[in-house]
């Protein structure tokens, strides 16, 4: 595995932006039954609030022990503790890698090539993602910026092509079914954001203004989410609720001059974002494992992670029921809470004790 210097905060947050964009554009409407699309316009406000709350422990750790990830801090306390925590993070990132690829499988198998076995494509994607992870963090950072240059104009183009189909009467009044379902959805949305855990782990690999970048990232991806939901709601109305992937359907409705069926562009956006997200997750898994168990080569870890991911995804592939079990909101929230809130909180408490010990020693 190629390991060189750090990447800039800009590259890092662009990478996370693309990673979160994938989660947004693969929104599955059946997960938010009691929430109308209009509510999804205000949901991001709650989402920002919960996003900031959940990141407080990581932020405090970052301010207190600059340049150290949660695993580095655990290692300073105890080697065994760091190994246990490392395994937690690897499982978390592995789980989200599997979910990312599984969503791609459902999308490809349902919308792009229905009734066709897409297992070969899954294998290909995972191999390419492993290769992306092999190239290292810097390469991923650079390719993210290039990908963003393609992805952002593509999304803007699709949305511009939809402007004449916007009908505000398709939107309902907000909080139609009360505030509670909206808050639940916001929590669910935060739970689906594994990028918070990525920040906790990848901090030492990033140069620049991380705090400012975090807020720009949080606001930009929330804004993108709100804009996409606005277009989905105002163009499709209740039709969106009947579609498995409403944003893909939205793109298929877009027409611009002689061009129609812009869902092809949307599909390419999806695949590019999936590549960045899965590569980053696989890279972080291999990196954490290598630091925890350095006797084995990083390349071997990559091969092992790739193989296990392929096998797991092939087991899940092809059946919507298996996918719905693995893509459970509760599991995702649990994973995010453990990796972003619980572990950093524990380290914060242990870290304080250690500071106390040091004071006594001095």
């Amino acid at each position: 595995m190629i390991t060189k210097g750090k990447i800039s905060a800009f590259q890092f947050y662009v990478m996370l932006f693309l990673s979160r964009t994938l989660t947004t554009v693969t929104y599955i409407s059946s997960y938010t039954k009691n929430v109308r699309l209009s509510d999804m316009l205000v949901q991001p406000i709650f989402r920002i609030f919960f996003g900031i709350i959940i990141m407080i422990p990581v932020y405090v750790l970052y301010k207190k022990y600059n340049d150290k990830s949660v695993i580095d801090l655990a290692r300073e306390r105890s080697e065994n503790l760091s190994k246990i925590i490392s395994v937690f993070y690897v499982i978390a990132f592995f789980y989200f890698t599997v979910v990312t690829i599984a969503r791609l499988d459902v999308f490809t198998g349902t919308v792009v090539f229905p009734e066709t076995n897409v297992n070969f494509m899954l294998v290909f994607v995972i191999i390419f993602c492993c290769y992306g992870a092999y190239l290292g963090f810097e390469a991923l950072g650079r390719s993210s910026v290039l990908t963003a240059v393609l992805v952002i104009p593509a999304i803007i183009f699709i949305l511009c092509a939809l402007t004449d189909k916007v009908d505000l009467l398709n939107l309902s009044s907000v909080f139609y079914n009360g505030v509670t379902p909206v808050i639940k959805t916001a929590i669910d949305s935060v739970g689906q954001t594994i990028e918070y855990a990525m920040i906790a782990i990848a901090l030492p690999k990033v140069n620049g203004k991380l705090t400012k970048g975090f807020f720009v990232w949080l606001l930009s991806q929330t804004l993108l989410m709100a804009i996409l939901f606005f277009f989905a709601g105002s163009v499709m109305g209740n039709f969106a609720a009947t579609q498995l992937f409403p944003f893909h359907t939205l793109a298929s409705l877009a027409e611009f001059a002689m061009f129609d069926r812009l869902d092809a562009i949307f599909t390419s956006v999806w695949i590019m974002c999936a590549f960045i997200k899965a590569s980053l997750l696989i890279f972080l898994q291999a990196d954490i494992l290598f630091k925890a168990f350095p006797k084995i080569k990083k390349g071997s870890y990559l091969v092992a992670i790739g193989t296990v991911t392929i096998i797991t995804n092939l087991v899940i592939a092809g059946e919507i029921e298996r996918f719905s079990i693995i893509d459970s909101s509760i599991i995702k929230i649990l994973v995010t809470v453990i990796t972003v809130l619980l572990i950093p909180c524990i380290l914060l408490i242990f870290g304080r004790k250690r500071s106390g010990e040091k004071c006594e020693e001095s």
Binding site: E115, T116, N117, L169, N170, L171, M236, N238, T242, L244
Partner: protein, 381 residues
């Protein structure tokens, strides 16, 4: 690592290339490219689906002769559901239907009267059916339209689609795409409107024409309104892009205007539990024709007079159309219920089940602001 990756890629590519993959089975040569689907209900409760598809077997010959449209073939299929009926085409033709190129779904009268709910699910559930496909109703059977010939050529689904698409140039045609229909389906009233096709002519000189707009109440066909009334239905639905309107100038001459821009704003206010719908139409139009001899130089007063007459005429027509929809046929085809749903949700929830009578007893205020933009080969004196 790079070598390992290359070896793995070569192996996967080899397996992919030489295996019996389903991708190849679904090659375009093995697909039946559907252009139009017509659905009718038989007396025994089964469905007859008429497919119009591109005849790929004779495509080379016809294109060489410079045919105006791709060679078409129709299939009459029967089944207990729409899907099972369409599936039987594979037995006949040995090809798998490809729905993504479908241009129109034509619903026969037997279905529109009562069975819309039973046939629409397939088109939403199947991912190949795009949300942009046009839906239309047939005056009699959908099959007779898709099977009809003009000079030995089928009346193509493409022509039917083009007829509907002409709403962009002439608001006498109402258009409904699948996503719009389903949006209405899930919006409480299930009232909507579809363009109505009828077969005209005899023997080899048949043609399919849009004769008006079919209004639906709670998914059931109620009545058809004329193409002239359709202009005002489109106006109420904020779907007028271009249209011609003729009215009496009040001086024994007829004035024709070409509407080039129209924007309708719809609001609702609730007073003593009676909704009042306030409909404001702002439009830009050019004077296209004034009957009664060669035109003379126009004055600002004359234009103002035409503007006033035009506004009065359009207001009257909109009110007549509203009357037809809400008083006669109980059809909220222009979706005013949505305003109650959004802005007076408690009132809507309370009256959800008797919304037809609420709309019937509602008040409607119409205001038209007509702006005469151009007067043609003229100048003002």
């Amino acid at each position: 690592m790079r070598r390992v990756l290359i070896i793995v890629l070569v192996i996967v590519l080899a397996i992919f290339t030489f295996s019996e993959n389903e991708v190849y089975k679904k090659d375009i040569r093995n697909r039946l490219v559907i252009q139009g689907i017509g659905i009718d209900l038989e007396d025994d409760g089964t469905y007859t689906v008429t497919l119009q598809a591109i005849d790929t077997n004779s495509s080379e010959a016809s294109s060489a002769e410079g045919a105006s449209q791709p060679p078409l073939k129709t299939y009459k299929l029967k089944g207990d559901t729409v899907y099972t009926a369409i599936k039987t085409v594979t037995e006949k033709e040995g090809k798998i239907p490809l729905y993504s190129q479908n241009r129109i779904i034509l619903i026969g009268k037997s279905i529109t009267e009562d069975k819309m709910d039973d046939v629409i699910d397939f088109f939403v559930r199947d991912v190949e059916n795009g949300g942009t496909v046009y839906i239309a109703a047939a005056e009699k059977t959908a099959g007779e339209i898709l099977e009809a010939k003009n000079n030995d050529e089928y009346i193509s689904a493409q022509n039917l689609e083009n007829s509907i698409k002409s709403y962009e140039y002439d608001a006498k045609i109402f258009s409904t795409q699948l996503y719009e229909l389903i949006n209405r389906y899930n919006s409480g009233t299930k009232d909507f409107a579809l363009p109505l096709f009828a077969l005209k002519g005899k023997d080899k000189e048949k043609s399919a024409e849009i004769t008006g707009t079919a209004l639906f109440n709670n998914t059931k066909y109620r009545e058809v309104i004329s193409k002239d009334e359709t202009v005002y239905l489109n106006m109420l639905s904020n779907k007028v892009y271009n249209t011609a309107i003729a009215f009496d100038s009040g001086k024994g001459t007829n004035v024709a205007i070409n509407v080039v821009k129209s924007k309708t704003s719809r609001k609702v206010k609730l007073e003593k539990s009676v909704p009042t719908f306030v409909i404001s139409v702002k439009m830009d139009a050019d004077i296209a024709e004034i009957s009664g001899g060669v035109s003379s130089v126009m004055t600002s007063e004359q234009i103002e007079e035409i503007k006033q007459k035009g506004e009065e005429y359009i207001e009257k027509k909109i009110k007549t159309t509203l009357n037809s929809m809400y008083q006669k046929y109980d059809s909220d085809a222009c979706g005013l219920t949505r305003l109650l749903y959004i802005f007076h949700k408690d009132f809507y929830r309370k009256n959800e089940k008797n919304i037809d009578s609420v709309l019937k007893n509602s008040l409607y205020e119409v205001d038209v602001d007509l702006n005469i933009r151009r007067v043609g080969h003229e100048y003002l004196s």
